[in-house]
């Protein structure tokens, strides 16, 4: 088995907070749903791990692994993720994936309509179906974030 766990991720195991938005009246015009997309995180080159410079600690490195999303939405996701990560405690550094997932989902639900889903972690794989133009899989530092949208019925 290939497993990677960041320090302080124990709290993240209790993820899965759910909320039902059935009955939401507001909806936006949406295209057809895309096919299924599978992603897998945790694969990082060894060089990256050892070569991290201290000077860049303050600037979060954003890397897009896979995307099917307009650039404006992507930038918004990056900014939101960076802000949330910056707000988390640094000493000791602790990742709160549930909090980050909640923030991203709430922001995108409010801005672009339901239903968005967000997965945050250091070691997970997935296989999902997303709406056209509503899929983003990126990493900030060593945290992988999967944000995708599913068209919902009115």
């Amino acid at each position: 088995m290939r497993e990677q766990q960041g320090s302080g991720d124990v709290a993240g195991r209790r993820g899965g907070v759910i909320r039902s938005l059935l009955g939401v009246e507001r909806r936006l015009a949406e295209g057809d749903a895309e096919g299924a997309v599978g992603v897998s995180s945790g694969k990082q080159p060894a060089t990256e791990g050892g070569g991290g410079g201290g000077g860049e600690e303050r600037k979060a490195v954003v890397r897009v692994v896979a995307a099917d999303m307009p650039p404006a939405l992507q930038r918004r996701a990056f900014r939101c993720a960076r802000d949330e990560l910056a707000a988390m405690p640094h000493f000791p550094r602790r990742l709160e994936p549930k909090r980050l997932a909640l923030a991203l989902k709430k922001e995108f639900d409010a801005a672009y309509g339901p239903a968005w889903h967000c997965i945050v972690g250091t070691s997970f794989g997935s296989y999902v179906t997303h709406a056209r133009g509503g899929f983003l899989y990126f990493s900030v530092d060593k945290v992988y974030i999967l944000l995708f949208r599913t068209a919902v019925e009115p």
């Binding site: 209790r14 909320r19 039902s20 299924a36 709160e96 997932a101 239903a115 945050v120 296989y127 179906t129």
Partner: protein, 180 residues
């Protein structure tokens, strides 16, 4: 008749009753007992409903046998027993029991079939199975360290752990039926 075979019969009865599996499975693991002698076994088992296992070793060995099984026994068993056998722990669920059982078996089967574990492959197998049986659109997340916040349809959410793997399976109804 039990007296004739002494310890063998007693052990066989305990095997059958304790594990709640079919006798044929136990025979393959215990060549010494004579096959013909097994014929009358079903009768005593049915009568000894109140029998308690006295030997811890038997329980442990039965547990060793369970993970290898894929077909379910003829006897009906409740979900608690299935959960115990498959080593699954449900952490959150909004799903009918029969669908939960389906997910457990599907995940277990996929996990056992993979020579090298792949969380993506496991997620793929479970999602495809549920899309096919219960209609689109299902999503599956598999991993050891992640948090999430999602929206799901009523009665279509399951969050469970299997060994050290955490599986989240949920559905969000879509406007149109997908071809894939």
């Amino acid at each position: 008749m039990a007296a004739r075979h002494g310890s063998r019969r007693t052990r066989a009865d305990q095997w059958l009753f304790g594990g709640k599996w079919r006798g044929t499975v136990k025979e393959t693991r215990h060549p010494p007992p004579v096959p013909e002698a097994k014929l009358p076994n079903p009768v005593p088992v049915q009568k000894d409903e109140g029998v308690c296992l006295e030997k811890p070793r038997v329980q442990r060995e039965v547990a060793d046998v369970a993970p290898g099984r894929r077909s379910m026994p003829e006897m009906e068993i409740n979900m608690k027993e299935v959960v115990a056998v498959l080593g699954v722990k449900v952490m959150a669920a909004d799903m009918p029991p029969f669908m939960q059982l389906h997910a457990f078996r599907c995940a277990k089967r996929s996990h056992d079939n993979l020579d090298k574990f792949s969380s993506r492959q496991l997620a793929h197998d479970v999602k495809k199975e549920f899309d096919k049986v219960y209609g689109p659109t299902w999503h599956c997340i598999v991993g050891t360290s992640y948090g999430s916040f999602v929206t799901h349809s009523r009665g279509c959410f399951l969050y469970f752990s299997m060994d050290k793997i955490i599986v989240m399976l949920f559905k969000t109804k879509i406007r149109k039926v997908l071809a894939s």
